[in-house]
């Protein structure tokens, strides 16, 4: 038993920090209806603020902690509420997910611009020293953290059940208009809920910082472990979220102890402790009784439902396709070799975005694990090549092998929608990255796998231009198939399920099959694109694609326009072509931040930037009509109505 006690103490301590994060998450969700994917990012920003205050400005750690938790945390909360989410009232849940992911991506980019990607140590908050409890020594900091989490958790429960403000917060998310009618100030209450929630995130971030050092990606990823604990309580129960986090903390530490002795042999076991919360998240979402996860979307949403169908989403984009092919044909004859390489990457990314748009734009299902498909496509291609399979069949096979993986995701996609599907795919993505990417059967024993370029029918296509032509053919065929799907019956069906799944089912149509097919198709093409990307750089490794890539792609595609090929094309240009013209590494970070901000701005637009561009002529026409046409029509109608009323009809 005494062997386990140190791990138990560590588990309760780390669990307490996750509990603080989970409590904040549940508070914001239950009181504003917004699940903040950027919750961990708020914690991360707070940890960097702690670094700046204590290291740069030599402030006392406790003072810095108080300043951040009582000042910065609430400030971030109020800004996020008023500037980002308040504008969205009435939008669909997809818009909320995209905005919070945009915020995550943007802040991540901005912090790396300012502080760089390397971790930095920060001073301890609590005095060092231990209390001897006989069989185990417990640090002052561990006692303090556990006490803080337990005290604040209890405080929150009392606050929500016993005080009028707490009651107001729960009432506002239920029905903001009605709560105004009972005399509550709904706007102020929501703002307070955000302040409270992000204060908790800030506290979690600062408490984590001394043990981990401040590292942007690591902190964000650690705090999202709270998602699993929150999911246990259906995102709504504070006590379950608290206990769940403690439990997960202990389980994580115990699994570290148990797997320790095998970890050198089975490298994937090393990822198990950090994966537990995501296993829980994915499993809870997957096995929960249907209907136990109900989205807290605001009532007013029903009247002003989210933006309708994007213009041009129904048409087959013949002109754009011809244009794309034409431009692609001339590129090799006018561009330098390095530009042709960029163009090859762009063509492969076009397929990635087109396949993602099948989910995001067509059936409006948010998938946050697209990078998994891409990475698996590349690694499967590498493995098959090692077995001596020629390139073309290997590429096709790697696409097909990913289909069942994508099909696995169709299970939550059938059961869940909106926010919860996004959460499940997020959990799935992180899980895959933490656990399976470490195994030899994904990226080989070295964590890196060579991918050779093709040789087709005796033609060697390994050169820059040769591979470009090959990629061009594969990409155009893939995009054509995707566009055909979009323009035909399956496409119409998926658009219809996005509006109302129930309505489609009452027509006697099997929507389950449609949703499964779209996930499998999307996964297939993402894997093909992954194979092309792998062959382009001739290798793929554990770090090539991660869960942040998935999030970045979603933000770029939504900003550019997720509903049409035009959007996918613009997304490719933004992500691949623009950085190619800049050599500075900083541009990449600014680009990330800019994409996050753009996604926030265009989350509500029916088809992002491209939608606005294509709609401009129509808008001008409508505006003209409104200026001179509509009043005349209205006046005529009014005159007719009066005549009818007088004549007694």
């Amino acid at each position: 038993m005494s062997d386990y006690l140190p791990f138990l103490v560590l588990g309760v301590t780390s669990g307490s920090i996750y509990a603080l994060a989970a409590l904040g998450l549940v508070v914001t969700y239950t009181t504003s209806g917004v699940f903040n994917f950027a919750h961990g990012t708020v914690a991360m920003v707070s940890a960097y603020a702690y670094y700046t205050l204590t290291v740069t400005h030599h402030m006392k750690p406790v003072l810095a902690l108080l300043l951040i938790v009582l000042g910065l945390g609430p400030l971030i909360g109020i800004v996020v509420d008023k500037a980002l989410f308040r504008r969205l009232v009435g939008a669909g849940s997809a818009a909320y997910v995209v905005v919070s992911i945009g915020l995550l991506v943007a802040l991540q980019g901005l912090v790396i611009i300012k502080y760089g990607p390397t971790a930095r140590p920060v001073p301890n908050i609590f005095p060092s020293g231990v209390v001897d409890l006989g069989q185990v020594n417990v640090g002052y900091d561990q006692i303090a953290i556990t006490a803080i989490a337990a005290g604040l958790g209890l405080g929150l429960v009392v606050f929500f059940t016993k005080t009028q403000t707490g009651l107001d917060m729960r009432a506002v998310v239920d029905d903001p208009q009605l709560s105004e009618l009972t005399g509550a100030n709904a706007s102020r209450t929501t703002a307070m809920a955000w302040m409270l929630g992000s204060s908790f995130a800030a506290l979690a971030g600062v408490l984590l910082a001394p043990t981990l050092g401040v590292d942007a990606t690591l902190l964000t990823l650690l705090v999202v472990q709270a998602f699993g604990a929150a999911a246990l309580g259906r995102l709504r129960s504070l006590p379950i979220a608290y206990l769940g986090a403690i439990g997960l903390g202990i389980a994580g530490q115990l699994s570290t102890k148990w797997t320790g002795r095998w970890a050198t042999e089975h490298t994937w076991l090393g990822g198990l402790p950090n994966s537990l919360p995501f296993i829980v998240l994915f499993t809870v979402l997957l096995v929960s009784k249907k209907g136990s996860f109900v989205e807290l979307t605001r009532n007013v949403a029903s009247r002003t439902q989210a933006a309708g169908l994007a213009p041009g989403a129904r048409r087959f984009p013949t002109a754009l396709l011809i244009g794309l092919v034409a431009v692609s044909l001339v590129i090799p004859s006018i561009a330098t070799d390095s530009r042709v390489t960029t163009a090859t990457t762009a063509l492969a990314m076009l397929v990635v975005f087109a396949s993602l748009s099948l989910l995001l734009g067509l059936s409006r299902q948010i998938s946050l694990c697209h990078a998994v498909f891409v990475a698996l496509g590349a690694s499967t291609l590498g493995h098959l090549q090692n077995q001596g399979v020629p390139f073309l069949p290997a590429l096709l096979l790697s696409g097909l092998i990913v289909v069942p993986v994508a099909g696995l995701l169709a299970i939550p996609a059938i059961r869940l929608s909106g926010l919860f599907l996004a959460l499940a795919t997020f959990g799935f993505g992180v899980l895959f990255q933490n656990l399976l990417f470490r195994t030899s059967w994904v990226f080989g024993t070295a964590g890196q796998l060579g991918v050779d370029r093709p040789s087709v029918f005796g033609h060697n296509l390994t050169g820059t231009k040769g591979f470009y032509w090959f990629t061009l053919v594969i990409s155009i065929v893939s995009v054509l198939v995707i566009e055909v799907i979009r323009a035909t019956r399956l496409g119409r069906l998926l658009r219809a399920t996005a509006d109302s799944n129930v309505a489609v089912e009452t027509l006697g149509i099997n929507t389950t099959a449609a949703r499964t097919v779209v996930f499998c198709t999307s996964g297939f093409f993402a894997a093909i694109a992954g194979g092309l990307l792998g062959a382009q750089v001739s290798s793929v490794s554990t770090t090539s694609f991660n869960f942040l890539s998935s999030m970045l792609w979603v933000t770029v595609l939504v900003a550019a326009g997720a509903a049409t090929l035009g959007g996918a094309t613009l997304a490719t240009l933004l992500l691949v072509a623009i950085p190619a013209f800049f050599t500075s590494a900083e541009v990449i970070n600014y680009q990330t931040a800019a994409f996050g901000i753009a996604a926030i701005m265009f989350a509500q637009a029916p088809n992002g930037v491209i939608g606005l561009i294509t709609e401009l002529p129509r808008r001008a026409f409508v505006a003209k009509l409104a200026d001179d046409g509509v009043p005349r029509i209205a006046a005529r109608r009014a005159r007719m109505a009066e005549r009818l009323a007088v004549s007694g009809r």
Binding site: L167, A171, Q177, S179, G648
Partner: protein, 233 residues
């Protein structure tokens, strides 16, 4: 405390729903607001409650224009709207719903008053409101008016989707509020029930007041058949 709408125009976005509506609810009087679907009844109530702001004209309470004041300020001044549908917080318990309404004042008194008129609520204080039957939910919505004692009570479609016996019970509570001398403004699909307790009748037609009078003037059905369709009266 008199409520007066003076030449109010209001709507949603670019769509104007109310074109020049003037209406008065004298102190202690009961006014029935009738009209076909889309006539602007609910918009009128929302404008008075502060959920919709008039683009022209004034809503005056006790002689003072309310301007663009927020709904929760109007609640403080004694204006209460029970909105269409079930005006309750579905995810809160019955007791918490009542506590929302009395807002920090005496919660025990509120529960006592509510259960005196609707005993069934007393048995369900800790039940989540959204899981009760439609009739019980509407009782809870009306109980709010009983516990907050507003000066002006507006009820939007009290009887929608309910059984006649439940409607009787709800109208008994409304009649009692009327007897206590509170001003009532009622939108109701069962015209007879509304006329039975109303002192004055307004008929809205396409966003304009088409008729003002007393219930007796509505007898014979000529007014109704013109504005509400045949066979209503």
């Amino acid at each position: 405390m008199t409520l007066e709408l003076r030449h109010v125009r209001a709507g949603y976005g670019r769509t104007e729903v109310l074109h020049d509506v003037s209406l008065t609810v004298p102190d202690g009087a009961t006014v029935a607001l009738l009209g076909s679907n889309g006539a602007g009844k609910t918009t009128t109530l929302k404008t008075i409650a502060g959920l919709v702001h008039p683009s022209a004209g004034d809503v005056c309470w006790n002689g003072k224009a309310l301007g663009h004041s927020a709904p929760h300020h109007r609640v403080d001044q004694g204006i209460c709207l029970i909105p269409e549908g079930r005006g309750i917080f579905r995810n809160l318990t019955v007791a918490e719903n009542l506590a929302m309404h009395v807002r920090g004042r005496r919660k025990a008194d509120a529960v006592r008053t509510a259960t005196k008129y609707f005993p069934v609520l007393g048995e369900r204080l800790s039940q989540t409101a959204g899981t009760m039957s439609g009739g019980q939910q509407q009782m809870l919505a009306v109980a709010r008016a009983l516990v907050t004692q507003p000066q002006l009570l507006m009820i939007d479609e009290l009887s929608v989707g309910l059984a006649p016996v439940v409607i009787d019970e709800l109208f008994a509570a409304v009649a009692m509020l009327r007897a206590e001398g509170r001003s009532l403004l009622i939108v109701e699909q069962y015209v007879h029930r509304a006329l039975a307790i109303a002192d004055y009748v307004y008929i809205l037609h396409k966003g304009r007041i088409a008729f003002v009078g007393e219930p007796a003037q509505c007898e014979g059905g000529a007014v109704f058949s013109r504005y509400l369709g045949e066979g209503v009266a």
